[in-house]
Amino acid sequence: MSKEKITLCEDLADIMPPEYHELVATATYGKEDRGWKDIGNSKELIEQHSLCAGCPESIAFRYILASLPNPEDTVFVGSTGCTSLVFPHVAVQNIHSLFGNQNAIASGLKRTLKCRFPDVEKDVVVLAGDGATVDIGLDMTMQSWFRQEKFTTICFDNELYANTGGQESGLMQKGFVAKMAPAGKTFDKVRLPEIAREAGCHYVALLTVSKPNRVERAIRNAVYIARELGPTYVQLYTPCILEIGKQSMEGLDEMKDAESIGGRFVMKEYMTDEAKKMIEDREAEEKAKRKAAKGKKPVSA
């Protein structure tokens, strides 16, 4: 989508809501160096959220939307769960269809966009919870990787079914007592990042959303690599503070604890050699561009 398409018609400008005016005036559509640092200065692509106060998933949403390299040509595919409560507030087209079929939808979507717009990069990003990705949708998640579908899958791992009230999920830790696991979960947390690697993902990252720069890097890598090479997977720890008995302000500490040495979410990153080379080339190119821009002296009046 060209940025011109969101320009307001003068005759109708007075009836457009203020959010839309802001979107046109200060959003980061089309800005090449957009990133998490725009948060607070520019109009964000998430208007507000309807999640619990202090929910780490809302932080994840803000970082992801700020990190997308090309939001004006990105389509999100969501699934049922807490994420589906946020999508109505997002200024990127998004599809909610069913629970668990997100990677099937994304497969058809990406292929058709490629056919219809052969000369434009249209990014498809799946964003779903751990129930949708690992339990009910695992078949379709993995099959899209086997088929080398060129889109990014992001899993919000809160280690349970949050939206339905805290039931056991495949990504839950062993021994955790939850609804539907009254005596504690009897098997280990599913190792989806390793499965993703074996199933053909070209880039896999496991991290929390405590550090925005790390999230930005992972999301950009995942989107760029998916464009060129094939499937990518990012698993983000977004704890459900409500269901693990934490206060609104404790989400960040929970993520920091989980990513400290010996924790479940110490950052892990994997990429194929091909992907590594591609990212290195891109970074070198960006660095050269920044250097060139720095060297240019501003034209004085």
């Binding site: 989508m1 398409k5 969101i6 959010e19 208007e47 309807s50 004006e72 040509d73 990105t74 389509v75 595919v77 589906s84 409560l85 999508f87 109505p88 507030h89 997002v90 200024a91 990127v92 087209q93 998004n94 599809i95 269809s97 069913l98 079929n101 099937a104 939808i105 994304a106 497969s107 058809g108 979507l109 990406k110 292929r111 058709t112 966009l113 056919c115 219809r116 717009f117 249209k122 078949d139 379709m140 099959q143 088929r147």
Partner: protein, 415 residues
């Protein structure tokens, strides 16, 4: 009541984003659907139903088709793959299950392609969750359902029970009697389903094996013409290609609100899908030449049916005629929208209405009983379950038994 629709030269308005007379990459000329069916010389071909599906898709300007094996649609799905390798479709692949396939079809349709797929029996039921989603998302996908048994013990025989499960899915449902019907319905189905004031998915249904695996003479237009392609920007909801600005749909997601707004949103959307289905009548009536076909409505006994049961009914009528029993016929072509007024009108003088069906549930008889006055006139049957054909003699026997006549029952033979 359906208003009488004039049959002008152009029976339906096609999308005009592609110029008629221009050619696609396979050198096929984009042709108006009216011209294709009413101004083109048709030639007879002796083909199986699966080959007929291939022939229809070859000239349907389909963007994406997703396939999955299940008898008896596998052959048709594989033949569409051949068309893809010859360059007639932009995209084709095998999905991992019918549930996934219908999701993949949805993704392709959300992104703006004309989409076609095929399924059957247990596959239809596995895919079921997707169909109301297609309708609710206003995706004009066409699924060809080659109906077969769905129960355990396993049966691959023809059985139309799965149609019963689709009745309230929000899809248009057209039931083909013959391979010719199937060919016509597939091409005309795209055009009706994609009308901006309809824009709903469509199930083109046929009875597995009887239609898919038998050869029949079918009149086909030349294959150097094709339908004009789907125009995603005529959709009543935005195409998900980020080519129009995203809108903030609502302040709060209504799914979480047990309030009036939530109810209103849900109710109005459901009403709109039903209204869209009603609006499909005005496009369908001229293009299919009515939602029903009738013969000899002045007779006291009528056979009212759909699919291949109609063909068996025709033969039963011939056999009964030999014995001096005169029977008329109503063939129902569209199950959704259901031709309420047409069936009521056609059966108003009948004393006995027989509804032979290839399933044990008798869903078509229920539909008819629900709309005709004095519905004691409706005899739900005969029925056969998957695993056998319905000999015309069984229909003859049912009618004679009901009239109190002596029958030499097939089921008594050998006893």
């Amino acid at each position: 009541m359906n208003k009488q629709v004039d049959s002008p030269k152009d029976k339906i308005i096609r999308s005009q984003h592609v110029k008629l007379g221009t050619k696609n990459k396979k050198d096929q000329t984009f042709t108006d659907v009216n011209t294709m069916f009413y101004d083109t010389e048709m030639t007879p071909n002796f083909l199986t139903g699966s080959e007929v599906i291939r022939a229809a898709i070859k000239i349907a300007s389909v963007g994406t088709s997703v396939a999955y094996p299940i008898t008896p649609q596998s052959e048709a799905a594989a033949l569409i793959g051949e068309l893809y390798s010859e360059g007639y479709l932009d995209e084709y692949f095998r999905g991992e299950s019918e549930f996934a396939v219908m999701g993949q079809c949805a993704g392709a349709s959300f992104a703006g392609h004309r989409v076609f797929t095929t399924t059957a029996g247990p596959g239809t039921l596995r895919a079921m969750e997707n169909f109301p989603m297609w309708a609710g998302s206003r995706l004009p996908i066409q699924v060809c359902v080659t109906m077969r048994g769905i129960n355990s013990p396993l049966s691959i025989q023809p059985d139309t029970l799965e149609a019963h499960f689709l009745l309230e899915s929000g899809m248009l449902m057209w039931h083909a009697e013959t391979a010719q019907d199937l060919f016509d319905f597939i091409l005309k189905g795209f055009i009706v389903a994609e009308q901006p004031d309809v824009h709903l998915p469509i199930a083109t249904m046929c009875d597995g094996f009887f239609v898919t695996h038998t050869k029949d003479t079918v009149l086909l237009p030349p294959d150097d013409i094709c339908l004009t392609p789907y125009d995603p920007y005529k959709s009543p909801v935005p195409c998900m290609d980020m080519e129009c600005p995203p809108v903030r749909m609502m302040r709060d997601p209504f799914i979480m609100k047990s309030n009036y707004i939530s109810y209103m949103t849900h109710a109005s959307w459901q009403q709109e899908i039903r209204a869209a289905m009603e609006r499909s009548r005005k496009h369908t009536i001229p293009l299919l030449d009515g939602l029903i076909d009738t013969h000899d409505l002045d007779r006291e006994i009528l056979i009212v049916s759909s699919g291949t049961a109609v063909s068996q009914g025709r033969e039963a009528i011939r056999l009964l005629e030999e014995e001096g029993i005169k029977v008329g016929l109503v063939k129902i072509k569209t199950i959704r929208p259901f031709p309420h007024e047409e069936v009521k009108e056609a059966t108003k003088n009948a004393k006995h209405i027989f509804v032979p069906e290839f399933n044990m549930a008798g869903w078509l008889a229920r539909e008819i009983k629900a709309i005709v006055p004095d519905n004691h006139r409706v005899v739900a049957g005969p029925h056969v379950a998957g695993g056998m054909t319905m000999p015309s003699e069984v229909i003859v026997e049912e009618i004679k038994k009901y009239l109190g006549m002596k029958v030499s029952s097939i089921s008594n033979r050998g006893s």
